[in-house]
């Protein structure tokens, strides 16, 4: 395969991954690394470097449209970013030290968990939880536009959420993904942040988190220009298109298809990792 063919095919695959990732809200990065390693036989470290770059592009590219809606909470985001960026830095340093087969196994486990999470019904919206003293001190409580005016919310269990965010950052740095699944666990489940607030806030955190590990990857020579170029451009174009048609599209069946894809890729990664084929 010549470089020209390779670039074209990777760009198309990345475009579809970005489109589906944005339509389903599951993120495109999570399928890119397994696709590149399993079908294009790219070394997993190059694949992670390229995916990480595309994660920044998706997050930053979508920020402007998310912000307009007024759901995201900049204080929650900034406070938790202390945890995610530290985690990302640690993850990136770990990634340069652990064997690629271990990377594949961890990746497979994260994929299986993401597939499971995408089939789970959303947690019930919080209603009038009492304010948590720590969250109040940190000014994390806020409000967002809801049917019939502003709805305020009180953030819960800050230390648990903060620790989970460190883990999300570490996974992001280790695997080159947005770690949306772990962020949802931290913000929805532990901190009881309303769904719309947590998804939009997590989108803006993903870019900053990925930037923290991207520096390390670039400095270590894991970001190959020839590979990152079609991945970044493809994912960016796909996710921008996805955010345009998101409102109209029927995403339920699409989510099912995409989560089956994630499940299959997860099993593949586990298989390859355990049999040392990566």
């Amino acid at each position: 395969m010549t470089i020209l063919d390779f670039t074209a095919v990777v760009a198309i695959v990345s475009f579809v991954a970005g489109l589906l990732g944005s339509l389903t809200g599951l993120g495109g990065g999570v399928v890119l690394v397994p696709l590149l390693t399993i079908f294009f036989h790219v070394d997993i470290r190059y694949a992670i470097g390229a995916s990480l770059v595309s994660v920044i592009a998706t997050s930053s590219g979508a920020a402007a449209s998310y912000v307009k809606e007024g759901f995201s909470n900049i204080r929650i985001g900034m406070f938790l970013e202390i945890a995610t960026t530290l985690g990302a830095l640690m993850g990136a340093f770990l990634a340069t030290r652990i064997p690629t087969s271990a990377l594949a196994i961890i990746f497979g486990a994260v994929l299986l968990y993401s597939a499971f999470l995408s089939r789970k019904p959303r947690t019930l919206a919080q209603r009038n939880l009492p304010p948590d003293p720590l969250a109040t001190r940190l000014q994390l409580n806020g409000s967002f536009p809801d049917m019939g005016g502003e709805r305020s919310y009180n953030v819960q269990r800050v230390p648990t959420g903060f620790s989970l965010m460190f883990g999300a950052g570490a996974l992001s740095g280790l695997l080159g993904i947005g770690s949306g699944a772990v962020k949802v666990l931290a913000m929805d489940q532990a901190m009881r942040i309303p769904f719309k607030v947590s998804t939009t806030t997590s989108n803006f955190m993903i870019g900053v988190t990925a930037a923290a590990s991207a520096g390390v990857y670039l400095g270590r020579g894991y970001v190959d220009p020839g590979l990152s170029m079609p991945v970044m451009l493809g994912v960016l174009a796909g996710s921008l298109l996805g955010s345009r048609i998101l409102v109209k599209a029927e995403t339920k069946s699409l989510r099912l298809v995409f989560s089956v894809v994630i499940l299959v890729l997860g099993l593949q990664m586990l298989y390859k990792g355990f049999w040392g084929k990566i």
Binding site: M1, F40, D43, A63, I74, P131, A211, L218, P225, M232
Partner: protein
């Protein structure tokens, strides 16, 4: 903290809203800044891609074996030098550096936003995040 503490007070009454209109305005500006940064970096990457594909498009592609990038593609100094030499891959890396810089610039601008609101605690938090990001970019082998 147990979620079922009765009677739960209505949060609106005791909780002033720290999410002010200023926060939202800052975010809108920053959102546009981010989008601009991404589009700029995508344009630079695309430009580099044209040069790279024109020159090397017919060579075989091989990413099976990890070699690591040469220093011209993994240090800021090397990237700038290869851009000066008119290399396509140097331009792609420059675009990727710009991309990594956009969220960092966003964090930097947030410091100004929090400072205008005289929120010292969040100025401090944001400075910590910025320090971690700059350490990653400059202190981890990428160098200048």
């Amino acid at each position: 903290m147990p979620a079922a503490q009765a009677p739960a007070p209505r949060p609106q009454l005791i909780q002033p809203q720290p999410q002010s209109w200023d926060d939202h305005r800052i975010e809108v500006i920053l959102g546009n800044l981010l989008r601009g940064g991404v589009l700029l970096s995508a344009a630079v990457v695309l430009w580099g891609a044209c040069i790279y594909l024109f020159r090397h498009g017919h060579e075989p592609a091989d990413y099976r074996v990890f070699r690591g990038e040469p220093s011209e593609f993994r240090t800021i100094r090397g990237v700038i030098q290869s851009v000066k030499d008119g290399r396509g891959r140097g331009l792609i890396q420059l675009g990727l550096l710009l991309l990594i810089a956009t969220p960092i610039a966003r964090v930097g601008c947030s410091i100004v936003g929090f400072a205008i609101e005289r929120d010292r605690m969040y100025v401090a938090f944001t400075l910590i995040v910025l320090a971690i990001l700059l350490y990653s970019l400059l202190g981890s082998g990428l160098g200048v």
